[in-house]
Symmetry: C2
Subunit: 592 residues, 2 copies
Amino acid sequence: MIGRTHYCGDISEQLIGEKVQLKGWAQTRRDLGQVIFVDLRDRTGVVQIVANPEISQEALDVMDTVRSEYVLDVKGTVVKRDEETYNEKIPTGTVEVQVDEMTILNESKPLPFQVDGETDVSEDVRLRYRYLDLRRPEMRDTFKLRHKTTKLIRDFLDENDFLDIETPMLTKSTPEGARDYLVPSRVHRGEFYALPQSPQLFKQLLMVSGFEKYFQIVRCFRDEDLRADRQPEFTQVDIEASFMEKEDFLSMMEDMMKKIMKEVHDIEVPTPFPRLTYEEAMNRYGSDKPDTRFGMELVELSDIVKDSDFKVFANAVKNGGIVKGLNVKGVADKMSRKEIDDLADFVAVYGAKGLAWLKVEEDSLKGPIAKFFTEEETAQLRKALDAEAGDLLFFGADKKQVVFDALGALRLKFGKELDLIDHSKFNFLWVTEFPLMEYDEDEDRYTAMHHPFTSPMREDISKLDSNPEDVRAEAYDLVLNGYELGGGSQRIYERDLQEKMFAALGFSEEEAREQFGFLLEAFEYGTPPHGGIALGLDRLIMILAGRSNLRDTIAFPKTASASCPLTGAPGEVSTSQLDELNLEVVQFEEEE
Amino acid sequence: MIGRTHYCGDISEQLIGEKVQLKGWAQTRRDLGQVIFVDLRDRTGVVQIVANPEISQEALDVMDTVRSEYVLDVKGTVVKRDEETYNEKIPTGTVEVQVDEMTILNESKPLPFQVDGETDVSEDVRLRYRYLDLRRPEMRDTFKLRHKTTKLIRDFLDENDFLDIETPMLTKSTPEGARDYLVPSRVHRGEFYALPQSPQLFKQLLMVSGFEKYFQIVRCFRDEDLRADRQPEFTQVDIEASFMEKEDFLSMMEDMMKKIMKEVHDIEVPTPFPRLTYEEAMNRYGSDKPDTRFGMELVELSDIVKDSDFKVFANAVKNGGIVKGLNVKGVADKMSRKEIDDLADFVAVYGAKGLAWLKVEEDSLKGPIAKFFTEEETAQLRKALDAEAGDLLFFGADKKQVVFDALGALRLKFGKELDLIDHSKFNFLWVTEFPLMEYDEDEDRYTAMHHPFTSPMREDISKLDSNPEDVRAEAYDLVLNGYELGGGSQRIYERDLQEKMFAALGFSEEEAREQFGFLLEAFEYGTPPHGGIALGLDRLIMILAGRSNLRDTIAFPKTASASCPLTGAPGEVSTSQLDELNLEVVQFEEEE
């Protein structure tokens, strides 16, 4: 390297006596009058440099003008520090560089916030000055981890004969799925491209092409209202393979995750990963992405209470619903009546009309509903819930989905608050046998639970017409620590079955042809059996980096209102730009 | 692998006697009554399979129903072929697989065109059935090469400590540069994102962040009228480094290209690459991306003809222009007068008002303008142009740029037509010292020749105010075989200089702040010296694959009218989609 012999992080006792040239940022500066110390930082780390008049008055004079975050070019000699000045916090802490010569490459104004560690400045300010926020070591480490993980994935898939093939960003809008981002066409006036929600159709077409094994790490877009763990643009590890049996595919994915965990965290993840059917996951955890790092499973109680005098329970079962319970161990005396009652509001979000509870004492259950249960019922409840004195029991009684959602959320809430989660664990698991379709009450039709190209399980195909809600999909979600890392499936590859699927989803033949005609046509020219998966890269990195905010894994993320405080995107454009697109912004009333 | 023991291309004499299971497509089928042969293809290659009643009548019966491009699952035994039936065209040609058992996984209609080699069907049909076009071996090989090259680039940059960091696709429109693709925002009604023309600003901000070495293989977008070698979306290898001296950076890029050439074509490219200044490239080749695989350089003649009686030449020089000549060796007797005259139309495209020429004979020059030159001028012209009997000399006399463009294009035309180009050569070179700005007559202002963030050469900074057109840029284009592979530069990293640059480009202070305020602000917080390059990946692959059409390097490309014949993108969208965006398509008259 011209103009640089070492990185700051490379300076060590091995180099004592050597002349080095470093470049980096002045992180902190201590001025002892005749001696000035600066912690010089580059992307590898920090080393202390020191100027004093015995070495070079000139360098000291320059050093005297240095302020925080100035960019420096430093020549000097590596020396050992006095033992009492060792800095244990940095790997280079036993040495320093005595400066012979120094140039200021650029200056810096005082920063709006500190960049040498965690900051408590608001996220808005961090995003506004993202280029400074990214100087913080946590952020630098996250992006190094992201680079490394991405590289591991690419190398792994390359070794497994997958070809990295790019698919278009300017593609066609389809009404199925989430809302598309549109891109007006200038050449075809009045027409629009759509940004892809995923390369699903293209990767299936690549299977028709005979590439057999495809992958891509690819940007995808969804114009949805944002949550903390959603971004309008996100990155997907997109994989598809022909002729691979599902078991081969899943075990390959497990090997990939195993390799990532080994290389990134030096953790040996046992394989094969546990599998839960969708039904079992819902029944035991109230979630199709269960966090299995702690227990506190949901317990089925319908049979016990179906004839009880507590009508809420009995009626729930009578009306086709279920009753389930959750035993929160040892908190009966730690929660006030008010705290317990407030939980009714918490589960109301999930549609639950109330939250029944009981405190467990040595030889009785206490609480407003205790009186409704016979001795036998009480004994059965205690047994089923493994209840011991001091436990607090919660109950959900409603339609299946409401009970799952409410108690599933309550379980997670207590898991976090009671600190039951072992954060050193990385619990991978597969959830399988998802329903192929779910009934959408708003649209009064079935919609695909994954997407309309997911194959039904072969043994359930006959039920497609008669009992569509009972058809299970040949689909598999990869779950890690309560997050859905990704979803995959074997795909439909026969035109007939695909048409049947579209019909079950309420498409007319004409609609199916108009929107997916090219896929249906492609299926007629020798389409191999195929399947694949899409993994959320941002989320994987978030979990690997131990962050809780997806934005911390994206260099320049959008806020919850899909804007960028740094660049000001989105913004107004000139009338001439709109004229060229034959577009006009319609007047609108500002909403309250 | 479950259900597959080998790929077709793996079958060899080593496997004779072994049971194998293959999956793939029936490429060709020959029916000899009691024996049926099929060439089975997968992505690795082709192997012959054979069914006959002695092995399995059942398999023969299935085989009898197989048609072209059916998808097959085949079990059988590898046997040696009779020597007289060896197929030298395929690597597996000395063996075949005797079929015991066979399943048809999917059928195929007859294909609209053959996929077992080059096709002469129109490109429209190829794009309409792109999934079939991609089955052709040339296409498969191109995408394997693309995968391999991309991997090589990523590995190389990783080894050189570069971090792969993703930048946004939904960003802010800037009026500088080409036309943006816009994306309407639903949340911020009436506002728009723009798709990036390049991640230029973001990669510079990552340098401000201290990542020091960044790369990304990234999709970029330009809504420009398309040419054969342009696509609305294209892929760029985007690289940026802080603190790296230009010489280090260029030599690293050379090492990367050297590695690619070695691994892809087993060619040793000599380094360092030759360098030409912009001025020299224009003077010698009439192009800033010269194809140096052949000579036929432009020759400067202004001094010789400046006082000649041929006023076209003399006046060109008098008016500040130049006269240059091109010697096309040995074609004087091979071109008709009409063919020569037609070349005037060819150069007219470049603004040339005519094309003077002379035929070289043993002791004279012949042609309409020969009479204007004195004996001494004639001798000087012969000498300067190295003219020998049979040569044909062409002349350009006009403003510099017109002469360069016209003769540069003529040189390339003859180079191709006379087959002077050695297609086994890969001539890399750097073109340096570009003008920083050029005068845009339409806009009546200077525009940046590369982009407004390119640093002027330090020794020319003083001319920024007085003689902006004389300021050279610290820029470098990488040229290969007459194509610009990419352009790079050292960047401006001081706020003052960047503001000066914007002013020279005619921006008011307010405009500069409005459009690039966040960059100017970032420059105040300790910005390191930095520079980088952007390489056109599609074009690189095109050259490496020996293709002449950029579309052949993109899986699902757009046509010249920016549409996709396969998916029908762009297309109409529903009124409700537009309503949500507060947009209306303005009525327009269809153009004639």
